[in-house]
């Protein structure tokens, strides 16, 4: 009886331990669970204030901010793209107001140390605000707009120091080394002069981050007593409709991200929020009172000029002085998690081929087996490789940039005809089979003859 009890106990303990570990793994499959379940979406009030800030250091704590209730926005770790999370900035306090001409945001968060200079293995503190660029936002921001295009204002501490204090790094230029195994392959790239401590960026999806065509956002940060405070400022009346507060078209929202350089935060490793609904207060009519808006509004009678830019570069103009060369056969390939289109490409031996790849979601690569060629593309840039299909057979091309969990299986086939390798293989099998058959028949006849003679 005791034995059976002990066995039962062991079985129950085993099941319980496995269950607990599985439960822990499941609840943490996207990183630590959020400290609270955010059922109701947060709303950030953006009151009207007849005030203008010039981003003087003292204005980080200007009186106008004292009168605006900060909104504590909880942050989560980003777990969709490497590098994976290490630390977490648990929340950021957000305040905002507008004066009818500019809109201001102030972000404040706890940070033990100010990381301002970027060197090897040291990263800078930063923050960013993302706004959806299209109506109908997806509920989860995950990667700050994982599933929807966004505009981003990205402030970095080193850019702040360089822009406001003139602290330029020692090396103004840097070398771009793309291939780790080709030591001589590098191209020096000059660092542009900063126009602001904040960079206006656009992004369709993770991996597609691009500098925006207009740099209109400004910002200034101050670290004091273990706390960063960064003020963003942007005009509301010029350029595109990045942040049209009044009037509004569709739901207006913003999401926030914090990078703690001391934690090794950079790139995708950051703390980020879900979408926060923006509730701007309309500017008062002459003699009237300001009114609150819940996020909707009428179309403005003014139609600001939309910036024109192309997601993909236009075709390069031919150099008229260049001699007429054989035109490569261009094959357009689109990459999307986790497939290529077309997935099977057929060419003939000796053809000059250009594979031109566009990505429809995240950064993808294309590595061609056999030819050992590689390229990558993201939604804002196209990848191209040109080669002569001098090797025949079937070659696999596969993704070379981690794009998600099925990345190793993102595969396509390139057939370079004639596929003599397979033909030889099939002939070898047929010949071997024929040899087996012949040997079986021959030895059978030999044995039969021997037994007859005997």
């Amino acid at each position: 009886m005791l034995k059976k009890l002990a066995i039962t106990g062991i079985i129950v303990a085993t099941a319980a331990l496995f269950g607990c570990l599985a439960h822990h793994g499941w609840t943490h499959r996207y990183g630590p669970p959020a400290p609270h379940d955010q059922k109701a979406r947060l709303t950030l009030s953006i009151p009207y204030r007849d005030t203008e800030l010039v981003l003087d250091p003292a204005e980080v704590d200007a009186d106008v901010w004292q009168a605006i209730e900060p909104l504590a926005v909880p942050l989560l770790q980003q777990v969709t793209q490497p590098p994976w999370p290490v630390g977490l900035t648990p929340s950021v306090n957000v305040q905002a107001f507008h004066n009818g001409r500019e809109i201001y945001f102030k972000l404040a968060w706890e940070d033990d140390g100010s990381d301002v200079a970027m060197t090897v293995d040291k990263f800078v503190d930063a923050c960013a605000i993302a706004f959806p660029s299209q109506p109908g936002i997806v509920p989860q921001s995950i990667m700050m707009g994982y599933s929807s295009p966004v505009y981003i204002w990205h402030w970095k501490a080193d850019a702040d120091a360089e822009f406001w204090n003139g602290d330029r790094p020692e090396q103004p230029d840097y070398a771009d080394r793309r291939y780790p195994f080709e030591d001589e392959e590098s191209a020096p790239i000059q660092r542009p002069k900063l126009q602001s401590a904040v960079m206006d960026m656009i992004s369709a999806r993770p991996g597609s981050l691009t500098i925006g065509p207009q740099q209109l956002a400004q910002g200034r940060g101050q670290w004091k007593d273990g706390r960063w405070a960064v003020v963003f400022k942007r005009t509301m009346v010029a350029g595109n409709d990045q942040c049209r507060v009044q009037p509004l078209t569709g739901a207006r929202a913003a999401a926030f991200a914090i990078w703690n350089g001391g934690h090794g935060d950079r790139g995708a490793r950051k703390s980020l929020s879900q979408w926060v609904i923006l509730a701007p207060q309309r500017a008062p009519r002459p003699g009237g009172r300001a009114t609150q808006s819940d996020g909707g509004g009428r179309q403005s009678s003014r139609r600001p000029e939309r910036p024109i830019f192309r997601l993909f570069p236009s075709a390069e103009a031919a150099d008229p002085s260049a001699p007429a060369a054989k035109e490569p056969k261009v094959i357009n390939v689109t990459a999307q998690r986790f497939k290529y289109t077309p997935n099977v490409i057929k060419v003939h031996k000796g053809e000059l081929i250009t594979l031109r790849m566009e990505s429809l979601d995240v950064t993808h690569g294309l590595y061609l087996d056999g030819y050992e060629l590689q390229m990558k593309a993201d939604p804002s840039s196209v990848g191209k490789i040109t080669f002569v299909a001098d090797k025949t057979g079937r070659f696999t091309f596969r993704c070379s940039e981690t794009c998600g969990e099925f990345h190793p299986y993102m595969i396509g086939f390139l057939h370079v005809t004639p596929n003599s390798r397979f033909t030889m293989f099939a002939i070898a099998i047929l010949l071997a089979g024929g040899a087996f058959a012949a040997a079986a028949v021959f030895t059978n006849r030999k044995q039969k003859g021997a037994s007859t003679n005997a």
Binding site: I11, H24, G264, Y367, D369, T396, I411, G412, G433
Partner: protein, 474 residues
Amino acid sequence: MPDQTAVSNKFLGIIPMDGRLELTALPGVRWLFKKRWFPMAAILFNMFMFMVILLSGVVGGFSSGNYIFGIMIVWILWWVMLMMVLVPVFSRTWCMVCPLPSFGEWLQRLRVFGVNNKLFGLNVKWPERLRNMWLCNFLFLATTFCSGFFTVKPLATFLLLGGIIAIGIVLSMIFEKRSFCLYVCPVSGFQGLYSNLAMTEIRRKNPAICEKHKNKTCETGNKNGYGCPWLCKPHSLNRNTYCGMCLECFKTCPFDNMAFNLRFPGTDILVNSKRGLDEAWKGFIMMGIAIMFYVAMMGPWGGLKDWVRASTLGGWLTFVSLHASMNLLVIPGVFLVFAWLSKLASGAKDVPLRQVYVNLSYSLVPMGLAAWIAFSFGFLLPNGSYIIHVLSDPFAWGWNLFGTANFPWTPVLTRLLVPLQFITLFGGFVFAADYGFKLALQTYGDRRTAVRGFMPLLAMLMLVTILFGRLYGG
């Protein structure tokens, strides 16, 4: 009755297959095999590795698998090593050092080291009807339904391996000895079948010594070791299928009458003992899974990948249906046609079709293993470099234990991938054809009958090989 002695003992009629090189005759080898700390030391090392694998699965969650220790070590390093080296060369040596059933076995023995032949647990005998590979077949097939999760999501790998360990513990408390390993472990089935092709074996040396030995301590155990945990009779073992190579019989035999031999690959295929439909279906399932895995994972069809990773429930169910049908019905059905053609061509009316079907199915063992080795090249060469990265950063926490955390993805020798696969398939065909003829001789007895009966099988083997060649590089 078929003449069993009609089978040639030469591969391709040239290379003798009867020879054995006893490795335990070498100095130090038998000494090592008799030590209780061998293979315990290897088991403990593997236990540590699997704990890291399980931990990486728990903390890895749903992050990308190619940065996680568990995914890379299990599905690239371990699986590839199993298919390319461990099974074809060393038979079931992985079972010797496998840590998955060890917790259960230690609980049974109530100790990690030392010998205690009074095993704890209920020691119930495994049901007679299930003392075959059928359960392993279905469980292995079932795990492949979820390959779109297990091979890419760290947490899913944890659930699979952790589940195997948990079930192993539970079954060890209920059933005798290594019943879990023999009849349940999903990995056991194909290791058992494909170990018939292996180049090593454990056998008795002198039958006369075993006949005189009344106590048969290799079965019952003694103070030096346990009675065979794999419920084998080491004194009369003639196939590798169910021998887990635990080396207990080396410790318990008072006459040092057990030998670890190097031998020509595949000799067990010709041992006409305990052949059955369960092993035939295992051969079909392994072939079918090789085809489906290649098409779904290594092929260019994104829609199939969406099915496999369950982007939609309907797609996944479609994949499961197709996969199950192919493995359980289509491939066995096609083979049945060729078996019937073989019997028809042979003209042998006294040989049952079932016997033809079962016997000739063993010709698929070398073919299937070759297909898996070729498949493994397709994994190893492009993606093997991920292993270097995960060694330094096993949990994707930004560690750099050995300085290789920033090692980039580096495909290796991919221009040789398809040629290597073709060569492997060709080698598999040669073995399959030669053993197929020998199996036909065993089945039909009369040589003339066997030659006629062999032709449809040969045609089938040629078609299968060309099909795999088309799949892998055509």
